[in-house]
Amino acid sequence: MTSPTTPNTPPKNHGQATLADGPVFETKIEQVGEHEMILNMGPQHPSTHGVLRVVLKLDGEVITEAVPDVGYLHRGLEKLSENRTYPMNIVLSDRNDYLSAMNNNWAFCLAVEKLLKVEIPSRAEFIRVIVGELNRIASHMVFYGTYGIDLGAFTPFLYSFGRDREEILDLFEEICGARITYNFIRVGGVMLDAPEGWIERVKAFVDRMAPRLVEYDKLLTLNPIFIDRNLGIGRLPAEKALALGLTGPNLRASGPALDLRKDHPYSVYKEFHFDVPVGKGGGDCYDRFMVRRQEITESLKIVRQACEKIPSGPVMGKVGRVYRPPAGEVFAQLEAPRGWLGSYLVSDGTERPYRHHIRAPSFINLQALSDLVKGLKVADTVAVLGSLDFVLGEVDR
């Protein structure tokens, strides 16, 4: 009934130009009913995993409407790409989904390689698989830790984020020198060969992880409070998930076993044996959690096989320092930890892309939020938000 503006409207200083001036995008929920109130969540909220803002319409404690407001981290990545040469763009792709930078490097390079039609040496492909899967594990460990925090369990965070993920980051640091933003996978191969003994250390890490996963399950997966807060919350039927265009673990939790690594194997994924875990409980929060938890096991399997089969040889194909892909357009995608990460490039024959679009899985997965939280209690919103596991860098780009 009252004014439709949301509570967090920034104060306007009249007449005075500030940095914040510019286009103002406001999320508005029109028409508040007699028993309804509006609750603002974010952009600074510990459980929105970054700077997402969600405006909730409540009837008592039940959510009747939820509108996510994105753009608080919009850095103009796609436009900036047009001003950067192709190698410079790999640097930007790191910062797109910063929890799995390796896979982002990879997706961009796949597209450019398709344009250039270069051949990748097979050792490089194996190193790519190893680092890509390790990054997937690291990303799921962040999910495991932060999801626990969201639902009130702090200790799992210290195990997964503080101990095991750091071991993966140490391995990455050894091979490329960076902890978060790697810029490691390059067009034509990888930046450097693995240092001496690195493959053995990766194997040792895989061996160490197996008993630790049992620990993970004891801490969180089988915790009765955790199960209570998850079972049956935020059910997403398979047809709905497909209709919304969801991909990755969020889709597989609802039933369909769609995984690009199996269905359209890119790189050398054909050579590995692994299963695609799917949800069995109708796509609720617990399924989304379990799919990721099981994917850690599967990724460890792939890493172990890759470590055993890795051939020797060069790690860089025949690509010049400066390359100008022939004019044309190309789309390449791969299975990132959050879903199908696609890179669409239009080249006009210069050393910069004419247009670069990213199919960001987080952004598309976020669409499910409004439907999922309708009818739930406010506390369950946190569970649903956490279980969708989006990264705001990728949502907003």
Partner: protein, 194 residues
């Protein structure tokens, strides 16, 4: 009290009957407490926030310096700007800063919040958070390692210490006279009832 306590300058220790007496000024004592319990706000912006989270986790464990994240600005002393501040986010950052009780400190973490970083030519990124709020410590890097954040916290502690040093000329703790100490001793004896 352990003897580790009086290595801090500004604390005077006197032996009296039945124990020890510490004399200090309120300013020093408050600053000492303030610098040993810097509570940052749980506020992550972008990639740098992941490194900030790693700092609070078990390997780097900032708890040992008294740095413990708080979820609300009302309880926080420190705002770590960990990532890209875009123009849409800038008013919210400013508001968060205003919501924190004084004295408050700001650490600008990473190239983005220092000057725009890799997005120096972006149309939507604010080129430096210091255009909207005052910054105490800048950390270079993209992203800075947790060790760099550690150094930033230490720098901030030094800065808080320097507040005390600046005021020391006026607020020097005056040692008690012999007479005063005698009186305190007598009071201590009578209080024990012996």
């Amino acid at each position: 009290m352990t003897s580790g306590f009086d290595i801090l300058h500004g604390l005077r220790r006197h032996k009296i009957v039945g124990g020890e007496l510490f004399l200090t000024t309120v300013d020093f004592f408050v600053d000492w407490g303030r610098k040993s319990s810097i509570w940052p706000l749980t506020f992550g912006l972008a990639c740098c926030a992941i490194e900030m989270m790693a700092s609070f986790a078990s390997k780097f464990d900032f708890d040992r310096m008294g740095v413990f994240p708080r979820p609300t600005p009302r309880q926080a002393d420190l705002l770590i700007i960990s990532g890209t501040v875009v123009k849409k986010m800038a008013p919210a950052v400013e508001r968060l800063y205003q919501e924190m009780p004084s004295p408050r400190f700001v650490v600008s973490m990473g190239a983005c919040s220092n000057c725009g970083g890799p997005y120096y030519d972006s149309y939507s990124v604010a080129k430096g958070v210091d255009k909207i709020i005052p910054v105490d410590v800048y950390i270079p890097g993209c992203p800075p390692r947790p060790e760099a954040l550690y150094t930033a916290v230490q720098t901030l502690q030094e800065k808080i210490d320097a507040y005390w040093d600046a005021g020391k000329q006026i607020l020097k703790p005056v040692p008690p006279s012999e007479e005063a100490l005698k009186k305190i001793n007598e009071a201590a004896i009578s209080a024990r009832g012996s």
